[in-house]
Symmetry: C2
Subunit: 147 residues, 2 copies
Amino acid sequence: MTTVEQTLQALRDAGLKITASRRAIIETLAEMNRHVTAAELLEAVQARVPEIGKASVYRTLDVLVRLNVVQACTLGSTSTTYILTTAGHHHHLVCLVCHRTIEIDECLLDEATEAIGRKFGFLVEGHLVEVYGKCPDCMQTSPTQTT
Amino acid sequence: MTTVEQTLQALRDAGLKITASRRAIIETLAEMNRHVTAAELLEAVQARVPEIGKASVYRTLDVLVRLNVVQACTLGSTSTTYILTTAGHHHHLVCLVCHRTIEIDECLLDEATEAIGRKFGFLVEGHLVEVYGKCPDCMQTSPTQTT
DNA sequence: CTTGATGCAAACACTTTGCAACGAC
DNA sequence: GTCGTTGCAAAGTGTTTGCATCAAG
């Protein structure tokens, strides 16, 4: 079963309708397979089906996030990014100077979150980790920088 | 040296001016000593010095974040929150249902981030961890929820 | 005195909502 | 046929910016 089918199934399971727009949005998300902003996604979706509106993208993303098949993530700055959870789990190293982002495939705290969850009686469904720092390039360029 | 003084000193060190507005903002932040949104901070600051405008709050927060004495954090949703880094390091458990947030004092990945940093040549200066899930109350209320 | 900082309001960017029409089930 | 969903545009948020004035250094 493909990622797209899994996601459509999640909609069905929730008693929601599979519309052409939703299908296009989900297929696009699956193809992009990376963190995308709503705007990027909208553009890509419209390349496929031009008449889809931004509201549908936002509404669909909202639904998918609630169904836990899409993860929303705010990389410190401007706008939220979205990614299918089936795309796998990963975290980010964000450079404070140039804002370059490196994806880390390995998960830092599967066990730690479990432990924390138990401690607080939380059912842990996911986690977001962002590590901030200075990337190799920027360390060379500006070893000490205040302005 | 108090938190406020440390923060003011950071401004001085950066060659920036210590104005009444900035002082009020920093003092308020120190008093609140928790994650606050720009709006909350503005309100609290205006209770102290009514004529301070929102722009000054945003601009000052921006400066303080850049000086690394305030940490900005986007708890998954609406608006960014800010906290003085001197308030200590902690993470969050966020309930996906009721959006209640629990602060976790213990750090989950001091060592892990170090290792990651070395691996990618990153100078790690901080990290943000948000664990999502369902809080005890919401687990009882809605064991399975799709709508 | 110089230059950064301020307050105000207008401008912005991103997201949400109202509504009539549409289409999945 | 019902009711969830759509696209559009307008309305909301939260944040940033332009500008003349002000005050820290």
